[in-house]
Amino acid sequence: MSEPLAISLFSGTDDKLNAAAVLVAGAAALGRPVHVFLQYWALDAFRRDRIEADRGLAPEAGPAGEAAVRRLRSLGGASWSETLRSAKEIGEVDIQACSLSMDLLDITEADLDPLVDGVEGVTAFWSTAETGQVLFI
């Protein structure tokens, strides 16, 4: 199964970033090329000086959800950025920053973690995705 997967990663909370990183790593392990497009709050999470920061959880998590996620960490769950680094080691994972979001959040390429391979516009994203599967997270 080598069908490519494209992900528009929009959310910047730790739970969604983590779920996205797990999906990317799983696809990479199966040999599927993965193309990730970072928009808005997800892009903000990839700033090199904040990539390890606690970004909180989506509102539906609540206090019980927060405790559960903290427990997962203590049980050996890797952080989302570590999971993505591993995914890039084992497979073909291309992470691109959305140029509009770069402007909007006043981010330059120098501000981004080396996990990010480059900057592109939405047309380049769709052109790469072609008719393959696209996820929005």
């Binding site: 790593a25 392990a29 995914a87 080691e89 084992i90």
Partner: protein, 77 residues
């Protein structure tokens, strides 16, 4: 009679998808026909290793479970 060397990955205590990630990393360093034994405690790993083997073509030679520890023996294609 020669005894085959078995390479090992200890993924006990690691959450999904790290057992598969560690396995993919390790198998890339082996030669065709080499054996790799993986230990994991992630309950999803049973289905994950079957699926990973089927898709990547690395044979799942043996699998068992003892005391909550899953063991997978893989042969690099």
């Amino acid at each position: 009679m020669t005894t085959e060397t078995i390479h090992r990955v200890d993924a006990r205590g690691l959450a999904c998808p790290m057992p598969i990630v560690k396995t993919a990393q390790a198998i890339a360093t082996l030669s065709s026909g080499d054996l790799l034994e993986v230990l994991a405690t992630d309950p999803g790993s049973t289905k994950d290793f079957v699926a990973w083997s089927r898709t990547t073509g690395h044979a799942l030679v043996e699998q068992d479970e003892e005391g909550g520890v899953f063991r997978f023996l893989l042969r690099r294609k």
